[in-house]
């Protein structure tokens, strides 16, 4: 596998009026060390800011955090908005305390998958597992092999690419 040499660029942020900054810092640190190129938008990020960053940075995934319980309101129509803006086939993850109060996780998960998120995470999710899933999902979503082969593979093998 040559996945090590692949680039995994993601856009990360805390959505809505949510200013919980700690998890965002931790995520950035752990994902970066896990070989992910993190474009961190910080806290209080609007849907459009996520989408614009993903477009301009050519990111493979958007990771949306929501800790304060308004996730249900803030994440409405996120997938539709992405497609509307031409961001098709992007991997969408969401995680945190997504709803008000303690609810069965499977119910919350189903709700957010229904809303178009590819994966839904607990606040206590194992970040190493998240890294693994993220890489797999981004790989699975990449343009066909042919297109990819047109990139300078030799350099990649020699580790010469920046």
């Amino acid at each position: 596998m040559s996945t090590e040499s692949q680039d995994y660029k993601i856009v990360l942020g805390v959505i809505g009026a949510d200013c919980h900054a700690v998890g965002n810092r931790i995520l950035t640190s752990v994902l970066t060390q896990g070989g992910i190129d993190v474009v961190n938008l910080g806290v209080m990020v609007a849907q459009d800011e996520f989408i614009e960053a993903a477009l301009s940075e050519q990111a493979g995934a958007i990771l949306v955090s929501s800790i304060y319980g308004h996730g249900e309101l803030d994440c409405q129509d996120f997938r539709a908005r992405c497609e509307e803006r031409g961001l098709t086939d992007i991997v969408l993850y969401v995680g945190g305390n997504l709803v008000i109060g303690k609810q069965e996780f499977s119910v919350v998960e189903a709700q957010f998958r229904e809303m178009g998120f590819d994966r839904v995470f607990h606040p206590s999710a194992d970040l190493q597992e998240v890294i693994g899933l993220l890489k797999a999902d981004i790989d699975a979503n990449r343009p066909a092999q042919l297109a990819r082969n047109s990139r300078p593979l030799a350099d990649e093998r020699l580790g010469l690419s920046a």
Partner: protein, 482 residues
């Protein structure tokens, strides 16, 4: 806006500003100061926050207060009345949209909550409910109610809630900006909170006491005691200047028992020192201890143990009030039952510790000495930067990083200071950033961290900090390598 200084707002300017604020959202027009004073005067003794605090302080009691807020008035009143038998003073937690003055989105949340039959907001949108809605709430409960939020510009919120009979108001120009906002300039939020404090001062001048509580725990994550103490002292001084007389300073549990006791004891002493030295004498000072504000274990029994440690330390340190967490903490907004459980566990622990021996030790004294040296060093720098004015000095200190809150979202905060736990779990400075601490204090921090590094056979690094941030929810205090 004129340059920010720590001086009492002049009456004409204040009244002009008030007129503008009350026009900024339709419910603002429901506010009349004369009416507000009457509403406050009509409050029975058992609903006055300052009375409850003074009584607790005089009798050496520790009051319990939960957090709670839902979208609709009737549901919120029912929630508070469900909590009331288990606590001493009541909260009203404001929703996140209102905190950012996004009243249109708050209204949307109210409407959707009505339709859904359950609160989709994480708090009570007091501005949207207006004076009448808030008065219905205050009328429906039988204990003092405080507004708890996280609003950089809380002027309209203060006008509406105080006009409705809330008798305590949490927050401050620094503590409700740095941890709660991203783009708000510090001079702006401090100026807006001078307004809130002046409003409280106006009530005091009418003979109505309103309690003010700067928000102690800041980001709630590995905050070194001196950092939150400096903010508490600054906000106390800013409030006193505007005529506030009843002040509760806060501290969020850090986890190490000796450091936490030292922190609460030194907070009281340092505050009196700065308040009296600044010429204020006519004030009542009390303290509030926040149970662990960082990540909680998902398991409810484990979460209750975290709550119990906080209750024990708060009582050992003789806090006037405890802000109580719940076994649902890891999942966000708790149910009524979970909230009651947190209060009951806390009450049991407080009661069991209540009469016990005063806790003292050389370790506690050492922590007090360190905290006091740190606070004095930063306060000196703030006064220097502000040329004697602490409002100007505070803004400048955050700009230069002489004051720096770890893990804060605000751009107004440098974010270079990085804390880490030492080998006993006390919070030390891994990177002091630009904070001007004395050399001997820095050496103390370095030695303490080196002791841990040696024990764990790894160099101190940001990984160690990450491990610490996640430790309590993983059932440890210190984030050791597996």
């Amino acid at each position: 806006m004129t340059e920010l200084t720590n001086h009492r707002l002049d009456t004409a300017g204040f009244e002009a500003e008030r007129a503008e604020i009350l026009q900024s959202w339709p419910t603002g027009t429901g506010v009349s100061f004369a009416e507000a004073v009457k509403v406050q005067e009509a409050l029975p003794t058992e609903k006055r926050f300052p009375v409850a605090l003074a009584a607790a302080d005089a009798q050496g009691m520790t009051l319990l207060q939960p957090r709670a807020g839902v979208a609709l008035v009737r549901e919120h009143a029912a929630l508070l009345n469900g909590l009331s038998p288990y606590c001493d003073v009541l909260p009203t937690t404001i929703d996140a949209y209102t905190r950012h003055n996004r009243y249109t989105e708050a209204q949307d949340g109210i409407d959707r909550s009505r339709a859904a039959g359950t609160s989709l907001l994480n708090g009570f949108p007091a501005v949207n409910h207006g004076v009448d809605g808030c008065r219905r709430l205050v009328d429906a409960v039988s204990k003092p109610v405080q507004v708890r939020h996280g609003t950089p510009d809380a002027r309209l919120l203060a006008e509406i809630t105080l006009a409705a009979g809330f008798s305590s108001f949490e927050g401050g120009g620094i503590s409700y900006n740095i941890p709660y906002a991203k783009h708000v300039p510090l001079e702006r939020s401090i100026r807006h909170w001078q307004y809130c404090d002046r409003l409280v001062g106006r009530f005091e001048e009418e003979g109505v006491s309103i309690n003010r509580e700067p928000f102690g725990p800041l980001t709630g994550t590995l905050v070194p005691p001196f950092v939150s103490h400096v903010v508490a002292i600054l906000e106390g001084l800013l409030a006193l200047e505007q005529g506030v007389k009843c002040i509760t300073l806060g501290y969020g549990q850090a986890g190490n028992v000796a450091q936490d006791i030292a922190a609460l004891r030194s907070l009281r002493r340092l505050a009196h020192h700065y308040f009296l030295n600044a010429g204020y004498a006519d004030y009542k000072l009390t303290t509030v201890f926040h149970q662990w504000m960082g990540g909680f274990p998902a398991d409810e029994a484990q979460a209750t143990a975290v709550i119990c440690l906080g209750a024990l330390v708060a009582r050992q340190a003789r806090a006037t009030k405890i802000i109580v967490k719940t076994p649902h903490e890891a999942s966000g907004v708790p149910t009524l039952e979970a909230n009651q459980a947190g209060l009951k566990a806390t009450r049991q622990m407080v009661n069991m510790i209540s009469d016990q021996n005063r806790v003292d030790s050389p370790d506690i004294q050492m922590e007090i000495d360190v905290i006091e040296a740190e606070v004095h060093a930063v306060m000196r720098e703030i006064l220097r930067l502000g040329r004697g004015d602490i409002a100007r000095g505070a803004v400048a200190a955050f700009q230069t990083g002489a004051m720096d809150v770890p893990f804060a979202p605000a751009r107004a905060n440098l974010g270079k200071l990085t804390p880490v736990r030492d080998n006993h779990g006390a919070i030390r400075l891994f990177d002091v950033g630009n904070v001007p601490l004395p050399a001997d204090v820095l050496a103390f921090h370095r030695d303490k961290i080196a002791e841990r590094a040696l024990c764990e056979r790894r160099e101190p690094s940001f990984n160690m900090v990450v491990d610490d941030v996640r430790a309590i929810s993983a059932s440890k205090l210190v984030g050791r390598p597996a």
